[in-house]
Amino acid sequence: MSTISDPPSGSFQLSMLINDTRYRSYTFQFIALILLIMAFAYLGYNLLANLQAAGLNISYKFLGEPAGYDINQTLVDYTSQSTHWRAAVVGVLNTLLVAFLGCLMATVIGVFVGVLRLSDNWLVRQIMSIYVEIFRNVPVLIWILIIMAIFIAVLPQPRDFRGEDAAASMVFGAFAFTGRGFYSPAPVFGPGSSVVVAVFLASIAGIFAFRRYAKKALYDRGQLIPTLWPSLAIFFVPSILVFFVMGRPITLDYPSLQGFNFQGGIFMRNSLIALWFALSIYTAAFIAENVRAGILAVSKGQTEAAASLGLRPGRIMNLVVLPQALRVIIPPLISQYLNLTKNSSLAIAVGYMDLTGTLGGITLNQTGRAIEAIFLLMLFYLAISLAISAIMNVYNNSVKLKER
């Protein structure tokens, strides 16, 4: 009599939830889930009950009230009469700005250092190792403070630019490097400038199209078209031509010393520069290690095979090694970008008004809505991190090994 193969016939019985191996795991998982939900419900209830007992309630009404404080760096219109929500938005944009700039610079430095760490030159290799070890092993907050302190101590203050025999002077009469930040000329867009901007954007698109064409020509016909000089020509010539044809609609607004500070031009605050630089060189040290690991992960046979085909070392790196190394580099790179973004919350150490400084700092303090503000803060950072992660995953999918 075969007893094993016969599935139990008949209707479903409640006892099968425990006795039948097909259902048992579901039963226990379900019980665990219920317990987990109950645990969180209990914690949540406890929190609410205690808040109520303390005379506090969860309310987001404060977001609609006037903030009452000023923020130095605002990428969107903001006055002290704007709402707390607006202040939070200003903070988010400042966070995104420093995160974007930081990721960009960290990647450039990181790739550069990572490649040089594998240099044949002993001295270069050692210098890069020292850089990585120093910057990777000192907390980023210390770097932010050190860079800010050096920045303020070394560079002249606006008052040093004043007077006949001033201690400091502007570079080319256009750039001022002060302890409060960098001032540079700002473009002023007059009538007709939109044409110039459009042509400029079109020429950038043209460069990409040209390079694509050159690549296609190389792959299809083996024809090597030079790209550097034509690219430069496309970049400059049409825009400059149109600029003069339209009667020079874009002018420059030079910064000048008026009263306490320089006025006019583009102003990059010392806090932004210090934070940006500190986050970049700190994260770059990690990225350099990722890049080195990625390059080492490509079998040496690949390099040797490419060399035997007569490729020059630069081409071997660009055409053979790096494309394969990217597959290894990208996933840890994403996590470095996320780290950099989250580390930017140390901004208040140098007075940079990021999200933590506005919503999680002044707003929290002035309204006393700690739980609400912190919860919102978590939500914002979560959203930013997930967005970065999503974008980078799209890129990762485009470079990863295509399996067919």
Partner: protein, 339 residues
């Protein structure tokens, strides 16, 4: 379920310590120490001296309360707080009393759930600039870069003042007074603004105080006082009447020098007798010993003594009594009667 309950209780404890322990007095007595929130360091108000002992005007209030409750002015655990962390520290129960030149405002009193027990210093927000700038009025500060302590009322006053006068400025938010000093001295900001008393204290700590001037404008009312959590009225009463005892003691001429003598036996002035517990049962009403005020006054002296010793005209900070004189001498200090 029991474990979950314990976990939940632990999580909630951090948030609800103030609620769970409504009787702060019992907690303090059981602990044997008063947890008192002070600044991270403002000379004259609260700063550790060369021996690492905290001293200052606000510290004096902490010590007086500790002496009244525990009988020992040294039984204080000082918790340094920044402008940002102070309210969380008090609301969460980390400290029992916050004496950190904190401005009494409506929203802090009502919305944040705190109780200001009185005013120990009548202050106002001022500006300090280097003499070399040649500025003589705050109205000339158009376009200036200004260092402010973040998380304080000064931030809001500043925004209001510049908006009202239609001039612009560039705020540089700073966490603590100590961080602001190098920024101001290096010239990263033209102006430093905080309460006038704080400016005087900060300036006193400079190498060349004479190179800096405090501008004449006082742009706000800043009544500074100690505060406790809402909801524990007995504890609030103890803090309030300890402060009042210090103020009343000055008015009645009771000092740290003669307090023991006056408290030895009932004297001729019934108010002094009631204050010092030789007559009536005021101490028992507060839940304290009869000689609570004697200990509080003996701890560091009466209000006037504390003022003169820490921030008065003979100290480097050199503040005049001004609004902080007794009402009998043209000031605003006015303790309700002890009866």
């Amino acid at each position: 379920m029991k474990k979950i309950a314990i976990l939940g209780a632990m999580t909630a404890a951090g948030l609800s310590a103030g609620v769970a322990s409504a009787a702060t007095l019992d907690d303090v007595k059981a602990r044997g120490k008063l947890n008192c929130g002070v600044t991270t360091g403002l000379v004259g108000f609260a700063a550790p001296n060369a021996n690492g002992e905290w001293e200052g005007f606000d510290v004096g209030v902490c010590r007086a309360v500790a002496a009244a409750v525990l009988g020992d002015p040294a039984a204080v655990e000082f918790v340094p707080t920044t402008g940002k962390t102070r309210f969380t520290a008090l609301a969460s129960g980390e400290i029992d009393l916050l004496a950190r030149n904190t401005t009494w405002t409506f929203s802090r009193d009502v919305d944040l759930g705190f109780e200001f027990v009185g005013i120990n210093y009548y202050d106002g927000q001022g500006f300090m600039v280097p003499k070399a700038l040649g500025v003589s009025s705050a109205k000339e500060l158009d376009g200036a870069t200004i260092c402010i302590q973040t998380g304080t009322t000064t931030e809001l006053n500043l925004a209001d003042y510049f908006r009202k006068n239609n001039i612009s400025y560039e705020p540089v938010p700073i966490e603590t007074n100590a961080e602001a000093q190098p920024l101001y001295l290096e010239g990263a900001c033209d102006v430093y603004t905080t309460d006038a008393s704080g400016l005087a204290a900060t300036r006193a700590a400079f190498e060349n105080p004479g190179d800096h001037v405090v501008l004449p404008e006082i742009i706000s009312k800043e009544p500074l006082g100690p505060l406790v959590r809402h909801g524990d009225n007995q504890w609030g009463d103890i803090a309030r009447w300890t402060l009042n005892a210090l103020i009343a003691a000055e008015e009645l001429g009771v000092t740290s020098a003669n307090v023991q003598e006056l408290a030895a036996s009932a004297g001729e002035n019934p108010e002094i007798n009631r204050l010092l517990g030789t007559e009536g049962t005021l101490g028992a009403m507060l839940g304290l010993e009869a000689d609570w005020a004697v200990k509080a006054i003996a701890a560091g002296g009466n209000y006037g003594e504390l003022f003169e010793k820490n921030i008065g005209e003979n100290t480097p900070i050199g503040l005049a009594r001004g609004l902080n004189a007794q009402w009998t001498e043209g000031g605003l200090l006015y303790s309700p009667p002890f009866r």
